[in-house]
Protein backbone atom coordinates (compact mmCIF):
# COMPACT_ATOMS: atom_id res chain seq x y z
CA UNK A 1 0.00 0.00 0.00
CA UNK A 2 1.33 3.45 -1.03
CA UNK A 3 0.22 7.00 -0.48
CA UNK A 4 -0.78 8.49 -3.83
CA UNK A 5 -1.90 11.80 -5.22
CA UNK A 6 -5.48 10.68 -4.55
CA UNK A 7 -4.50 10.33 -0.90
CA UNK A 8 -2.83 13.75 -0.85
CA UNK A 9 -5.87 15.41 -2.42
CA UNK A 10 -8.23 13.62 -0.05
CA UNK A 11 -6.05 14.57 2.90
CA UNK A 12 -6.13 18.23 1.92
CA UNK A 13 -9.89 18.16 1.41
CA UNK A 14 -10.53 16.49 4.74
CA UNK A 15 -8.08 18.88 6.40
CA UNK A 16 -10.04 21.85 5.09
CA UNK A 17 -13.27 20.30 6.31
CA UNK A 18 -11.94 19.46 9.75
CA UNK A 19 -10.37 22.89 10.20
CA UNK A 20 -13.63 24.54 9.18
CA UNK A 21 -15.50 22.39 11.69
CA UNK A 22 -13.04 23.25 14.45
CA UNK A 23 -12.58 26.89 13.47
CA UNK A 24 -14.36 28.24 16.48
CA UNK A 25 -12.78 25.70 18.90
CA UNK A 26 -9.35 26.74 17.70
CA UNK A 27 -10.28 30.39 18.10
CA UNK A 28 -11.39 29.70 21.64
CA UNK A 29 -8.18 27.89 22.54
CA UNK A 30 -6.24 30.80 21.05
CA UNK A 31 -8.37 33.36 22.85
CA UNK A 32 -7.42 31.72 26.12
CA UNK A 33 -3.68 31.95 25.67
CA UNK A 34 -3.17 33.93 22.48
CA UNK A 35 -5.12 36.38 20.36
CA UNK A 36 -8.09 34.31 19.36
CA UNK A 37 -7.47 33.98 15.65
CA UNK A 38 -5.87 30.59 15.08
CA UNK A 39 -9.07 28.98 13.78
CA UNK A 40 -9.75 32.01 11.66
CA UNK A 41 -6.25 31.97 10.20
CA UNK A 42 -6.21 28.24 9.45
CA UNK A 43 -9.69 28.29 8.00
CA UNK A 44 -8.85 31.21 5.73
CA UNK A 45 -5.79 29.29 4.57
CA UNK A 46 -7.44 25.96 3.91
CA UNK A 47 -10.43 27.70 2.34
CA UNK A 48 -7.99 29.27 -0.11
CA UNK A 49 -6.33 25.92 -0.69
CA UNK A 50 -9.68 24.41 -1.63
CA UNK A 51 -10.22 27.20 -4.13
CA UNK A 52 -6.94 26.40 -5.84
CA UNK A 53 -7.06 22.61 -5.71
CA UNK A 54 -8.40 22.41 -9.24
CA UNK A 55 -5.08 23.93 -10.39
CA UNK A 56 -3.45 20.56 -9.66
CA UNK A 57 -3.07 18.75 -12.95
CA UNK A 58 -4.47 15.25 -13.45
CA UNK A 59 -1.04 13.64 -13.63
CA UNK A 60 0.34 15.44 -10.59
CA UNK A 61 2.44 13.69 -7.96
CA UNK A 62 1.79 14.15 -4.19
CA UNK A 63 4.60 16.70 -3.84
CA UNK A 64 2.76 19.04 -6.20
CA UNK A 65 -0.28 18.94 -3.95
CA UNK A 66 1.91 19.64 -0.91
CA UNK A 67 3.60 22.54 -2.70
CA UNK A 68 0.27 24.08 -3.56
CA UNK A 69 -0.78 23.82 0.07
CA UNK A 70 2.53 25.36 1.14
CA UNK A 71 2.39 28.39 -1.12
CA UNK A 72 -1.28 28.95 -0.42
CA UNK A 73 -0.85 28.82 3.34
CA UNK A 74 2.18 31.11 3.17
CA UNK A 75 0.28 33.65 1.13
CA UNK A 76 -3.06 33.56 2.96
CA UNK A 77 -2.70 32.53 6.61
CA UNK A 78 -0.37 35.15 8.04
CA UNK A 79 0.32 35.22 11.76
CA UNK A 80 2.72 32.68 13.23
CA UNK A 81 0.90 29.65 11.87
CA UNK A 82 1.11 30.74 8.21
CA UNK A 83 4.87 30.70 7.80
CA UNK A 84 5.24 27.69 10.13
CA UNK A 85 2.72 25.41 8.44
CA UNK A 86 3.69 26.85 5.07
CA UNK A 87 7.31 25.88 5.62
CA UNK A 88 6.20 22.47 6.91
CA UNK A 89 4.31 21.63 3.71
CA UNK A 90 7.06 23.13 1.58
CA UNK A 91 9.80 21.04 3.19
CA UNK A 92 7.54 17.99 3.05
CA UNK A 93 7.02 18.58 -0.68
CA UNK A 94 10.75 18.91 -1.22
CA UNK A 95 11.38 15.68 0.71
CA UNK A 96 9.15 13.65 -1.64
CA UNK A 97 9.59 15.67 -4.84
CA UNK A 98 8.53 13.78 -7.91
CA UNK A 99 7.66 10.54 -6.11
CA UNK A 100 4.30 9.25 -7.35
CA UNK A 101 3.68 6.60 -4.70
CA UNK A 102 5.00 7.16 -1.21
CA UNK A 103 6.23 4.09 0.58
CA UNK A 104 6.92 3.78 4.30
CA UNK A 105 10.29 5.49 4.08
CA UNK A 106 8.88 8.36 2.03
CA UNK A 107 6.04 8.78 4.49
CA UNK A 108 8.50 9.14 7.34
CA UNK A 109 10.61 11.58 5.28
CA UNK A 110 7.55 13.65 4.58
CA UNK A 111 6.63 13.92 8.26
CA UNK A 112 10.19 14.50 9.39
CA UNK A 113 10.80 17.22 6.84
CA UNK A 114 7.57 18.97 7.81
CA UNK A 115 8.56 19.00 11.46
CA UNK A 116 12.10 20.13 10.67
CA UNK A 117 10.72 23.00 8.62
CA UNK A 118 8.72 24.26 11.58
CA UNK A 119 11.73 24.01 13.87
CA UNK A 120 13.88 25.80 11.32
CA UNK A 121 11.57 28.80 11.35
CA UNK A 122 10.22 28.77 14.89
CA UNK A 123 13.13 27.27 16.86
CA UNK A 124 10.82 25.60 19.34
CA UNK A 125 11.69 22.48 21.29
CA UNK A 126 9.46 19.97 23.03
CA UNK A 127 7.92 21.52 26.11
CA UNK A 128 7.73 25.05 24.69
CA UNK A 129 3.96 24.56 24.38
CA UNK A 130 3.72 24.93 20.62
CA UNK A 131 2.70 22.79 17.68
CA UNK A 132 6.13 21.19 17.98
CA UNK A 133 4.86 19.40 21.07
CA UNK A 134 2.53 17.49 18.75
CA UNK A 135 4.98 17.16 15.84
CA UNK A 136 7.96 15.78 17.76
CA UNK A 137 6.21 12.74 19.25
CA UNK A 138 4.40 12.21 15.94
CA UNK A 139 7.67 12.03 14.03
CA UNK A 140 9.26 9.83 16.71
CA UNK A 141 6.33 7.45 16.53
CA UNK A 142 6.46 7.42 12.74
CA UNK A 143 10.14 6.55 12.76
CA UNK A 144 9.58 3.78 15.29
CA UNK A 145 6.65 2.33 13.38
CA UNK A 146 8.65 2.25 10.17
CA UNK A 147 11.51 0.50 11.94
CA UNK A 148 8.98 -2.04 13.14
CA UNK A 149 7.93 -2.65 9.54
CA UNK A 150 4.74 -0.58 9.42
CA UNK A 151 2.89 0.40 6.24
CA UNK A 152 2.43 4.04 5.36
CA UNK A 153 -1.01 3.84 6.94
CA UNK A 154 0.44 2.32 10.10
CA UNK A 155 2.96 5.12 10.20
CA UNK A 156 0.36 7.86 9.74
CA UNK A 157 -1.78 6.22 12.35
CA UNK A 158 1.05 6.05 14.88
CA UNK A 159 1.91 9.67 14.16
CA UNK A 160 -1.67 10.81 14.64
CA UNK A 161 -2.00 8.89 17.91
CA UNK A 162 1.22 10.41 19.22
CA UNK A 163 0.12 13.90 18.11
CA UNK A 164 -3.10 13.46 20.06
CA UNK A 165 -1.06 12.73 23.16
CA UNK A 166 1.34 15.55 22.41
CA UNK A 167 -1.46 18.07 22.08
CA UNK A 168 -2.97 16.97 25.37
CA UNK A 169 0.44 17.12 26.97
CA UNK A 170 0.69 20.87 26.23
CA UNK A 171 -2.12 21.58 28.68
CA UNK A 172 -0.17 21.74 31.95
CA UNK A 173 2.77 23.61 30.41
CA UNK A 174 3.97 27.18 30.65
CA UNK A 175 4.77 28.48 27.15
CA UNK A 176 8.20 29.61 26.02
CA UNK A 177 7.41 30.49 22.42
CA UNK A 178 4.59 32.35 20.67
CA UNK A 179 2.06 34.66 22.25
CA UNK A 180 1.27 32.29 25.09
CA UNK A 181 4.78 32.89 26.42
CA UNK A 182 3.67 36.36 27.56
CA UNK A 183 1.26 34.71 29.97
CA UNK A 184 3.73 33.01 32.25
CA UNK A 185 2.03 30.77 34.77
CA UNK A 186 -1.38 31.73 33.46
CA UNK A 187 -0.85 29.60 30.35
CA UNK A 188 -1.10 26.44 32.44
CA UNK A 189 -4.31 24.49 32.03
CA UNK A 190 -4.88 25.47 28.40
CA UNK A 191 -4.12 23.40 25.33
CA UNK A 192 -1.93 25.03 22.70
CA UNK A 193 -4.04 25.85 19.63
CA UNK A 194 -1.28 25.05 17.16
CA UNK A 195 -0.70 21.65 18.74
CA UNK A 196 -4.43 21.07 18.45
CA UNK A 197 -4.53 21.99 14.75
CA UNK A 198 -1.50 19.73 14.15
CA UNK A 199 -3.35 16.88 15.82
CA UNK A 200 -6.41 17.50 13.61
CA UNK A 201 -4.35 17.61 10.42
CA UNK A 202 -2.42 14.43 11.19
CA UNK A 203 -5.62 12.63 12.13
CA UNK A 204 -7.15 13.68 8.81
CA UNK A 205 -4.18 12.10 7.01
CA UNK A 206 -5.15 8.74 8.52
CA UNK A 207 -8.88 9.07 8.29
CA UNK A 208 -8.87 9.52 4.51
CA UNK A 209 -7.09 6.21 4.11
CA UNK A 210 -9.11 4.36 6.70
CA UNK A 211 -12.42 5.44 5.17
Amino acid sequence: MYLTTAWALAWVRLSAQVIAEHRSDLNTLDREIGDGDHGENMDRGFGAVMGRLSDVSDDAVPSEVLKLVASTLISTVGGAAGPLYGTAYLKAAIAVTGVAELDAAATVSLLTAARDGIVLRGKAVTGDKTMIDAWNPAVDAAVARQAAGGTPLDILSAAADAADQGAIATEPLVARKGRASYLGERARGHRDPGAESTRLLLRAAVDVVAV
Partner: protein
Protein backbone atom coordinates in the same frame (compact mmCIF):
# COMPACT_ATOMS: atom_id res chain seq x y z
CA UNK B 1 -20.77 43.42 20.44
CA UNK B 2 -21.83 46.59 18.60
CA UNK B 3 -19.44 47.96 16.02
CA UNK B 4 -19.71 50.40 13.16
CA UNK B 5 -18.88 47.75 10.58
CA UNK B 6 -20.51 45.83 7.78
CA UNK B 7 -19.47 42.24 7.13
CA UNK B 8 -16.76 41.48 9.73
CA UNK B 9 -14.60 39.92 7.04
CA UNK B 10 -14.54 43.20 5.11
CA UNK B 11 -13.48 45.40 8.00
CA UNK B 12 -9.89 45.89 6.92
CA UNK B 13 -10.61 46.26 3.21
CA UNK B 14 -13.38 48.81 3.73
CA UNK B 15 -11.46 50.76 6.30
CA UNK B 16 -8.40 50.99 4.10
CA UNK B 17 -10.63 52.03 1.21
CA UNK B 18 -12.03 54.86 3.35
CA UNK B 19 -8.52 55.77 4.42
CA UNK B 20 -7.42 56.00 0.80
CA UNK B 21 -10.36 58.26 -0.06
CA UNK B 22 -9.79 60.51 2.94
CA UNK B 23 -6.06 60.90 2.37
CA UNK B 24 -5.63 60.77 -1.37
CA UNK B 25 -3.24 63.72 -1.07
CA UNK B 26 -0.86 61.62 1.02
CA UNK B 27 -1.23 57.98 0.03
CA UNK B 28 -2.14 55.49 -2.64
CA UNK B 29 -3.53 52.06 -1.88
CA UNK B 30 -2.92 48.77 -3.65
CA UNK B 31 -5.86 46.48 -3.10
CA UNK B 32 -4.44 43.16 -4.20
CA UNK B 33 -2.15 42.57 -2.49
CA UNK B 34 -3.23 45.11 0.12
CA UNK B 35 -0.78 47.82 1.09
CA UNK B 36 -0.60 51.59 1.49
CA UNK B 37 2.22 53.68 -0.02
CA UNK B 38 2.96 57.35 0.06
CA UNK B 39 1.59 59.10 -3.00
CA UNK B 40 4.99 59.81 -4.53
CA UNK B 41 6.57 56.37 -3.96
CA UNK B 42 9.16 55.28 -4.83
CA UNK B 43 11.31 58.27 -3.97
CA UNK B 44 14.53 58.04 -6.00
CA UNK B 45 17.65 57.72 -3.91
CA UNK B 46 15.80 57.54 -0.60
CA UNK B 47 15.72 54.52 1.68
CA UNK B 48 12.18 53.16 1.65
CA UNK B 49 10.65 52.29 5.02
CA UNK B 50 8.00 49.61 5.27
CA UNK B 51 6.15 48.60 8.37
CA UNK B 52 3.05 46.56 8.94
CA UNK B 53 1.35 43.99 11.05
CA UNK B 54 -2.12 42.99 12.05
CA UNK B 55 -4.83 45.63 11.73
CA UNK B 56 -6.68 47.01 14.72
CA UNK B 57 -3.85 49.25 15.94
CA UNK B 58 -4.74 52.28 13.82
CA UNK B 59 -3.33 54.79 13.14
CA UNK B 60 -0.39 52.36 13.31
CA UNK B 61 0.83 51.85 10.58
CA UNK B 62 -1.18 53.37 7.70
CA UNK B 63 -1.63 56.66 9.51
CA UNK B 64 2.13 57.11 9.49
CA UNK B 65 2.65 56.81 5.75
CA UNK B 66 3.87 60.01 4.18
CA UNK B 67 6.89 62.27 3.81
CA UNK B 68 9.15 62.07 6.84
CA UNK B 69 7.88 58.74 8.13
CA UNK B 70 6.84 55.50 6.40
CA UNK B 71 6.91 54.84 2.69
CA UNK B 72 4.51 51.95 3.01
CA UNK B 73 2.33 50.15 5.52
CA UNK B 74 1.09 46.60 5.13
CA UNK B 75 -2.09 45.92 7.09
CA UNK B 76 -2.85 42.29 7.85
CA UNK B 77 -6.23 41.02 8.97
CA UNK B 78 -7.25 42.25 12.42
CA UNK B 79 -4.48 41.29 14.88
CA UNK B 80 -2.94 38.92 12.34
CA UNK B 81 0.36 39.57 10.64
CA UNK B 82 0.16 40.06 6.88
CA UNK B 83 1.58 37.36 4.67
CA UNK B 84 4.84 37.80 2.74
CA UNK B 85 3.15 38.67 -0.60
CA UNK B 86 1.90 42.15 0.25
CA UNK B 87 5.05 42.87 2.26
CA UNK B 88 7.13 41.97 -0.77
CA UNK B 89 4.92 44.02 -3.08
CA UNK B 90 5.13 47.03 -0.76
CA UNK B 91 8.88 46.62 -0.52
CA UNK B 92 9.18 46.70 -4.29
CA UNK B 93 6.83 49.67 -4.54
CA UNK B 94 8.98 51.84 -2.27
CA UNK B 95 12.41 50.79 -3.45
CA UNK B 96 13.99 53.94 -4.80
CA UNK B 97 17.36 52.31 -5.30
CA UNK B 98 18.73 53.01 -1.83
CA UNK B 99 17.36 49.90 -0.20
CA UNK B 100 14.43 49.27 2.10
CA UNK B 101 14.13 49.10 5.87
CA UNK B 102 11.51 46.82 7.42
CA UNK B 103 10.32 47.92 10.84
CA UNK B 104 8.76 44.88 12.48
CA UNK B 105 7.12 44.56 15.87
CA UNK B 106 8.42 41.53 17.73
CA UNK B 107 5.69 38.93 17.39
CA UNK B 108 6.43 35.50 16.00
CA UNK B 109 4.02 35.95 13.11
CA UNK B 110 5.25 39.38 12.08
CA UNK B 111 8.87 38.37 12.33
CA UNK B 112 8.40 35.21 10.27
CA UNK B 113 6.31 36.80 7.52
CA UNK B 114 8.58 39.84 7.17
CA UNK B 115 11.56 37.46 7.18
CA UNK B 116 10.16 35.54 4.22
CA UNK B 117 9.32 38.76 2.39
CA UNK B 118 12.84 40.08 3.00
CA UNK B 119 14.32 36.84 1.64
CA UNK B 120 12.16 37.13 -1.46
CA UNK B 121 13.10 40.80 -1.90
CA UNK B 122 16.80 40.00 -1.62
CA UNK B 123 16.27 37.46 -4.41
CA UNK B 124 14.97 40.36 -6.50
CA UNK B 125 18.10 42.36 -5.66
CA UNK B 126 16.49 44.76 -3.25
CA UNK B 127 18.71 45.56 -0.31
CA UNK B 128 16.50 44.92 2.73
CA UNK B 129 17.38 45.47 6.38
CA UNK B 130 15.06 44.67 9.25
CA UNK B 131 14.71 46.24 12.66
CA UNK B 132 12.64 44.40 15.22
CA UNK B 133 11.01 46.64 17.84
CA UNK B 134 10.61 45.24 21.32
CA UNK B 135 9.97 48.06 23.75
CA UNK B 136 7.43 46.38 26.04
CA UNK B 137 8.97 45.93 29.46
CA UNK B 138 5.96 43.96 30.66
CA UNK B 139 7.42 40.88 29.03
CA UNK B 140 10.69 39.49 30.23
CA UNK B 141 13.14 39.31 27.39
CA UNK B 142 14.59 35.90 28.06
CA UNK B 143 15.10 32.46 26.66
CA UNK B 144 11.78 31.54 28.19
CA UNK B 145 9.57 33.91 26.19
CA UNK B 146 9.19 34.92 22.57
CA UNK B 147 10.95 38.08 23.76
CA UNK B 148 9.59 41.51 24.40
CA UNK B 149 6.74 42.69 22.28
CA UNK B 150 6.91 45.69 20.03
CA UNK B 151 4.29 48.19 21.21
CA UNK B 152 3.78 51.96 21.09
CA UNK B 153 7.50 52.74 21.02
CA UNK B 154 7.32 51.53 17.42
CA UNK B 155 5.73 54.87 16.49
CA UNK B 156 8.81 56.68 17.71
CA UNK B 157 11.09 54.31 15.79
CA UNK B 158 9.06 54.94 12.64
CA UNK B 159 9.03 58.71 13.04
CA UNK B 160 12.73 59.04 13.73
CA UNK B 161 13.91 56.50 11.16
CA UNK B 162 11.54 58.15 8.70
CA UNK B 163 13.18 61.51 9.28
CA UNK B 164 16.61 59.98 8.76
CA UNK B 165 15.51 58.42 5.48
CA UNK B 166 13.91 61.67 4.38
CA UNK B 167 17.20 63.52 4.71
CA UNK B 168 18.68 60.76 2.53
CA UNK B 169 20.73 58.90 5.11
CA UNK B 170 21.88 55.58 3.68
CA UNK B 171 20.32 52.24 4.61
CA UNK B 172 22.95 51.32 7.19
CA UNK B 173 22.50 54.67 8.91
CA UNK B 174 18.72 54.56 8.88
CA UNK B 175 18.84 51.03 10.30
CA UNK B 176 21.34 52.09 12.96
CA UNK B 177 19.13 54.99 14.00
CA UNK B 178 16.04 52.79 14.11
CA UNK B 179 17.92 50.30 16.30
CA UNK B 180 19.06 53.11 18.52
CA UNK B 181 15.54 54.45 19.04
CA UNK B 182 14.36 50.95 19.84
CA UNK B 183 17.16 50.48 22.32
CA UNK B 184 16.41 53.87 23.95
CA UNK B 185 12.65 53.43 24.38
CA UNK B 186 10.68 51.44 26.92
CA UNK B 187 6.91 51.05 27.23
CA UNK B 188 4.28 49.47 29.40
CA UNK B 189 0.50 49.44 29.19
CA UNK B 190 -2.65 48.94 31.19
CA UNK B 191 -6.09 47.74 30.12
CA UNK B 192 -9.33 48.61 31.87
CA UNK B 193 -11.43 46.62 29.43
CA UNK B 194 -10.74 43.97 26.83
CA UNK B 195 -11.12 44.63 23.13
CA UNK B 196 -13.55 42.87 20.86
CA UNK B 197 -12.18 41.49 17.59
CA UNK B 198 -14.85 41.87 14.86
CA UNK B 199 -14.85 38.26 13.62
CA UNK B 200 -14.76 36.91 17.17
CA UNK B 201 -17.55 39.13 18.44
CA UNK B 202 -16.51 38.32 22.00
CA UNK B 203 -14.09 40.06 24.32
CA UNK B 204 -10.53 38.78 24.12
CA UNK B 205 -10.49 38.30 27.89
CA UNK B 206 -12.67 39.10 30.84
CA UNK B 207 -11.94 41.73 33.47
CA UNK B 208 -14.20 42.15 36.45
CA UNK B 209 -15.81 45.54 37.09
CA UNK B 210 -13.01 46.45 39.49
CA UNK B 211 -10.09 44.70 37.79
CA UNK B 212 -7.42 46.03 35.49
CA UNK B 213 -4.61 44.30 33.62
CA UNK B 214 -1.14 45.74 34.12
CA UNK B 215 1.34 45.06 31.33
CA UNK B 216 -1.29 44.40 28.67
CA UNK B 217 -0.18 43.73 25.12
CA UNK B 218 -1.71 45.45 22.13
CA UNK B 219 -3.76 42.44 21.04
CA UNK B 220 -5.47 41.94 24.33
CA UNK B 221 -2.79 39.47 25.33
CA UNK B 222 -2.79 39.32 29.09
CA UNK B 223 -0.08 41.22 30.87
CA UNK B 224 1.97 40.90 34.01
CA UNK B 225 -0.69 40.91 36.61
CA UNK B 226 -4.31 41.57 37.19
CA UNK B 227 -4.98 43.96 40.03
CA UNK B 228 -7.86 45.80 41.60
CA UNK B 229 -8.62 49.21 40.11
CA UNK B 230 -6.46 52.03 41.43
CA UNK B 231 -6.30 55.79 40.99
CA UNK B 232 -4.63 56.99 37.82
CA UNK B 233 -1.54 58.25 39.64
CA UNK B 234 -0.92 54.87 41.25
CA UNK B 235 -1.29 53.16 37.87
CA UNK B 236 1.19 55.55 36.29
CA UNK B 237 3.65 54.71 39.05
CA UNK B 238 3.20 51.00 38.34
CA UNK B 239 3.87 51.51 34.65
CA UNK B 240 6.78 53.89 35.01
CA UNK B 241 8.59 51.79 37.59
CA UNK B 242 9.61 48.94 35.28
CA UNK B 243 10.23 51.38 32.42
CA UNK B 244 12.69 53.50 34.38
CA UNK B 245 14.35 50.50 35.96
CA UNK B 246 14.92 48.74 32.71
CA UNK B 247 16.86 51.40 30.90
CA UNK B 248 19.12 53.48 33.07
CA UNK B 249 17.28 56.76 32.80
CA UNK B 250 19.41 59.10 34.86
CA UNK B 251 19.01 62.41 36.52
CA UNK B 252 19.86 64.99 33.90
CA UNK B 253 18.47 62.94 31.02
CA UNK B 254 16.15 64.47 28.49
CA UNK B 255 13.28 62.31 27.35
CA UNK B 256 10.28 62.17 25.10
CA UNK B 257 7.22 61.18 27.13
CA UNK B 258 4.55 59.41 25.14
CA UNK B 259 1.15 58.62 26.63
CA UNK B 260 -0.68 56.39 24.20
CA UNK B 261 -4.39 55.61 24.27
CA UNK B 262 -5.54 52.08 23.53
CA UNK B 263 -8.53 53.26 21.52
CA UNK B 264 -11.43 53.46 23.96
CA UNK B 265 -9.98 55.81 26.55
CA UNK B 266 -10.81 59.48 26.16
CA UNK B 267 -8.16 62.15 25.83
CA UNK B 268 -9.16 63.79 29.08
CA UNK B 269 -7.83 60.70 30.89
CA UNK B 270 -4.63 60.48 28.86
CA UNK B 271 -3.58 63.93 30.00
CA UNK B 272 -4.20 62.97 33.61
CA UNK B 273 -1.66 60.17 33.10
CA UNK B 274 0.71 62.56 31.38
CA UNK B 275 0.57 64.94 34.31
CA UNK B 276 1.58 62.30 36.81
CA UNK B 277 4.22 60.75 34.57
CA UNK B 278 5.85 64.14 34.02
CA UNK B 279 5.76 64.71 37.78
CA UNK B 280 7.47 61.40 38.53
CA UNK B 281 10.13 62.04 35.91
CA UNK B 282 10.73 65.53 37.29
CA UNK B 283 11.20 64.06 40.76
CA UNK B 284 13.96 61.88 39.32
CA UNK B 285 15.62 64.84 37.65
CA UNK B 286 14.58 63.67 34.18
CA UNK B 287 13.39 66.45 31.89
CA UNK B 288 10.55 65.92 29.46
CA UNK B 289 11.61 67.92 26.42
CA UNK B 290 9.28 66.34 23.87
CA UNK B 291 5.85 64.82 24.28
CA UNK B 292 3.18 62.91 22.44
CA UNK B 293 -0.31 62.20 23.77
CA UNK B 294 -3.07 60.41 21.91
CA UNK B 295 -4.32 57.24 20.28
CA UNK B 296 -1.35 56.17 18.20
CA UNK B 297 -1.00 52.43 18.83
CA UNK B 298 -4.41 51.09 19.67
CA UNK B 299 -6.09 47.82 20.43
CA UNK B 300 -9.41 48.37 18.70
CA UNK B 301 -11.87 49.61 21.32
CA UNK B 302 -9.84 48.63 24.37
CA UNK B 303 -9.94 51.09 27.25
CA UNK B 304 -6.49 51.64 28.60
CA UNK B 305 -3.23 53.35 27.87
CA UNK B 306 0.47 52.84 27.66
CA UNK B 307 3.38 55.00 28.65
CA UNK B 308 6.60 55.11 26.64
CA UNK B 309 9.74 56.95 27.61
CA UNK B 310 12.40 57.58 24.99
CA UNK B 311 15.81 58.81 26.04
CA UNK B 312 16.75 61.65 23.72
CA UNK B 313 20.11 62.83 22.49
CA UNK B 314 20.83 65.57 19.97
CA UNK B 315 20.54 63.22 17.00
CA UNK B 316 17.18 61.81 18.03
CA UNK B 317 15.77 65.20 19.04
CA UNK B 318 16.67 66.73 15.68
CA UNK B 319 15.08 63.85 13.82
CA UNK B 320 11.97 63.92 16.02
CA UNK B 321 11.53 67.62 15.26
CA UNK B 322 12.01 67.16 11.52
CA UNK B 323 8.92 67.72 9.37
CA UNK B 324 6.43 64.89 9.01
CA UNK B 325 3.37 64.81 6.78
CA UNK B 326 1.14 61.87 7.53
CA UNK B 327 -2.51 61.59 8.38
CA UNK B 328 -1.80 60.90 12.05
CA UNK B 329 1.38 62.88 12.74
CA UNK B 330 2.01 66.12 11.00
CA UNK B 331 4.24 69.05 11.66
CA UNK B 332 6.81 71.28 10.11
CA UNK B 333 7.24 72.48 6.52
Amino acid sequence: MKKLINDPSNVVAESVAGFALAHADLVRVSNDPLFIVRADAPVRGKVGIVSGGGSGHEPLHGGFVGPGMLDAAVPGPVFTSPTPDPILAATKAVDGGAGVLHIVKNYTGDVLNFETAADLALMEDIDVRSVITNDDVAVKDSLYTAGRRGVAGTVLVEKIAGAAAERLDDLATVARIAEKVNSFVRSMGVALTPCVVPHAGEPSFILAEDEIEIGIGIHGEPGRERITMEPADAIVDRLLGPILEDLPFDSGDEVLLFVNGMGGTPQIELYILFRRAAEVLAERGITVTRSLVGNYTTSLDMQGASISVLKLDAELTTLWDAPVQTSALRWGK
